[in-house]
Amino acid sequence: MTNLLLQDPFTVLKEYPERLTQTFETPLQTCCVEFSHGGDYLAMGCSNGAVILYDMDTAKPIAMLGNRGGGHVRSIQSIAWSKDDRYILTSSRDWYVKLWDLQKPGVPARQVRFESPVWTCQWGGPFDLGCIATVYEEEYAFSINLTPETPVVAKICDVYEYLGEDEKESEENEELEQQDFGYTLVACVHPVWKEILITGTSKGWFKIYRISDQKVQLVHSYRFAYSNAKHMIISQSGDRVAINSSDRTIRQYSLTANFELTEFNFALEHRYQDVINRLQWNSIRFSSNSAEYLVASAHGSSARDLYLWETSTGTLVRVLEGAEEELMDIDWDFNHMCITSNGLETGNVYVWSLVIPPKWSALAPDFEEVEENIEYREKEDEFDQVGQFEQQQELDQAEEVKIDLRTREKFDVRGNEINFNRFVIPLDYDSILMLKHWDK
């Protein structure tokens, strides 16, 4: 990675990508994309169930999940990288959720089969190695404990919700029972309050659960619309929530809670709609930290761009152009400041990022850039011997300052956390050997 400190600060600190810089033409139809947390790898889930990992430096595929057996056989619905980028969770329409250890990407480390296609799967829940999945036509989300060899699956629902018909009669729960929330379609673990899970349902409800080791508590529910929840995202800082629903609207809420996390409040900030064409939105994504920007892809063959809004004012600030087709899933890599999205028709993957012009003067303060060769004229006192002693002293002093080369910086210039150990996918020597020997 280039040293961002040496680049033009006005370009480096731009808050969103500007130009289409790369197109991956994959032989498979990509239907979902996800960057690793470090941004070194891009996972592409394909419609035939393959998941291919691309190295972003070389723009070449380096691993395929399940190429030694046990891969998905229907289109991939979601991909999630673990915090250290070593594990990947995939969910697919073939009813499976699979966990992959990139130390051995050939076979799944764990897998769970549900009774119907899986919508999404995300890290989180009450277990050390656990995840939350939402499944087709299921009323509740599932929590999966992936630590044991055969993962344990449990429904996430409040005791009151779970009571039988008779018990629901009791007055206390009458109100709750009357409410039909519909099927749970999306679920997000809150990035700051880890025990809080927010789900979105097919009848337009937010439900907030508080999950502890022993019990699950439904702490809040809020109706945002009268239609399906398609996507839900929470900002890294945790105070902004956006939900994309099938009524062609993206709603952006600010989420607040009291200190004990017992009361929550959703305050509608903005509604994003395409007022002219009335298009649905395919996918949405927040920018980093406090989510100052929101990017979305629009449904329909006439839409070929990504739309980027400023979340505080709700104004459209940029349209990312360049793709020649409808765009589906989106992911945003904050480390390298690039946005990727996959095309519907060709299955190609597009990447927009910043183009930083080389700036040589950043390498040394007295370095000057010239348009064409000029004859150098020596300044009057440039090579004078006087004052050399003082100069030398100054230099010596500068050298005496200890430079710390070993402590890692915590944040990069854009404010992203970089001080964590990123997993490096091991080289697959076997495959290289085999390629060399295949003909013999």
């Binding site: 891969g71 056989v73 329409r93 073939d94 009813w95 009774e115 036509e137 050997l433």
Partner: protein
């Protein structure tokens, strides 16, 4: 245009010594003194070996010679059509101090030199701790000449057990690969195959149930698909079956709960259409389990394919590893070899 070499003076068309009237040759423009010369095929002039910095022992190796001027295009054919000629040489005999050209279809000038060259090679072989000749013989234990020609094409020959005890059986990586291969060849493949069979059986049962339940409407396509059972026709059938009336038929266990007739009668006894009977999903248009049979079949087939390919892969990896081990073994042998040769040489000097 190729320039003349540094040592070659510029072209001089002089043919006779101005003073003596003697014919002069070569780049040195001197008369013939009986020194070895070579005739240029381009300009018909003669040149001294020594003047052209060519060792005289290459005498017999010249195939067609062109002087520096012809090669540079000053004279000869290159001057007119621009195609610069080059001196061509014959291949030299492999015996290092023999400068005769090779015989036809050979790397040697004569049979005698071929034998002496190979004998020299065999004499240099030294295997510490072993007599050299038997080791060589073992490496070359080929029944006839055709096999002998193939030596090296099938990788390295395997050293015998006495020569390298436990070369393969002591290598953990190779053993690991072998055991994986055993696993694939043993249970894994059969298990998937039985699962596939079970799935096919169950699908057949569901089909039979549907036939009995809604037989009248479905008869047409039942006839058309009964013959072939290819994947495509099955997919078609499924499509048709969805269009016609049919129950979903998904069950988690994939075990036939009871004969089709019994199931149907039980199904018909229930008044309002049940959604589930004996663990079997009975919804008419079930979006939830849509394409369950196809998905599972694909999954199992994929597993079977990947098992087959991993069998192939493991076989290849085993072979690669064996080659590696052999190579390491031979390398180690020769390394000891060279050091043990050097020491007596030093003592002699």
């Amino acid at each position: 245009m190729v320039s003349l070499p540094d040592w070659c003076p510029a072209y001089n068309p002089q043919k006779k010594d101005a003073e003596t009237g003697e014919e002069v040759f070569c780049i040195c423009k001197k008369p013939d003194s009986g020194e070895l010369m070579v005739g240029c095929d381009g300009c018909d002039d003669w040149f001294h070996f020594s003047c052209l910095k060519m060792p005289t022992k290459y005498n017999e190796l010249v195939f067609s010679f062109y002087c520096p001027y012809c090669q540079a295009g000053v004279t000869g054919p290159g001057a007119t059509d621009g195609n610069l000629p080059k001196t061509l040489w014959r291949r030299k005999c492999r015996v290092s101090d023999c400068f005769k050209p090779v015989a036809e279809n050979s790397k040697y000038c004569s049979e005698g030199h071929a034998i002496s060259y190979l004998r020299g090679l065999v004499d240099r072989v030294e295997v510490p701790g072993h007599e050299a000749t038997p080791v060589l013989r073992e490496m070359l234990r080929e029944p006839d000449f055709d096999h002998f020609k193939g030596v090296g094409q099938n990788g390295l020959p395997t050293p015998s057990e006495q020569l390298a005890p436990g070369l393969f059986s002591n290598d953990a990586q190779l053993q690991e690969l072998e055991s994986q291969l055993q696993k694939v060849r043993g249970g894994a493949k059969r298990r998937v195959e039985t699962q596939l069979e079970q799935l096919a059986q169950y699908s057949k049962w569901v089909h039979a149930v549907n036939e009995l339940l809604f037989g009248d409407g479905n008869q047409e396509h039942a006839e058309s698909t009964s013959g072939s059972r290819s994947k495509a026709s099955r997919a078609q059938k499924r499509k048709k079956a969805v269009k016609k009336k049919a129950i979903c038929g998904y069950s988690a266990s994939l075990v036939v709960p009871c004969p089709a007739e019994q199931f149907v009668s039980e199904f018909k006894e229930l008044e309002d259409e049940p959604t589930e009977l004996r663990g079997v999903c009975c919804k008419l248009r079930c979006t939830r389990h849509l394409d369950w049979a196809g998905t599972q079949e694909n999954g199992l087939q994929f597993q079977l394919e990947s098992l087959e390919s991993s069998e192939e892969r493991l076989q290849l990896l085993v072979k690669i590893r064996e080659d590696q081990l052999k190579l390491q073994f031979y390398k180690k042998l020769t390394q000891i070899d060279t050091t043990s040769i050097k020491i007596p040489l030093k003592n002699e000097s």
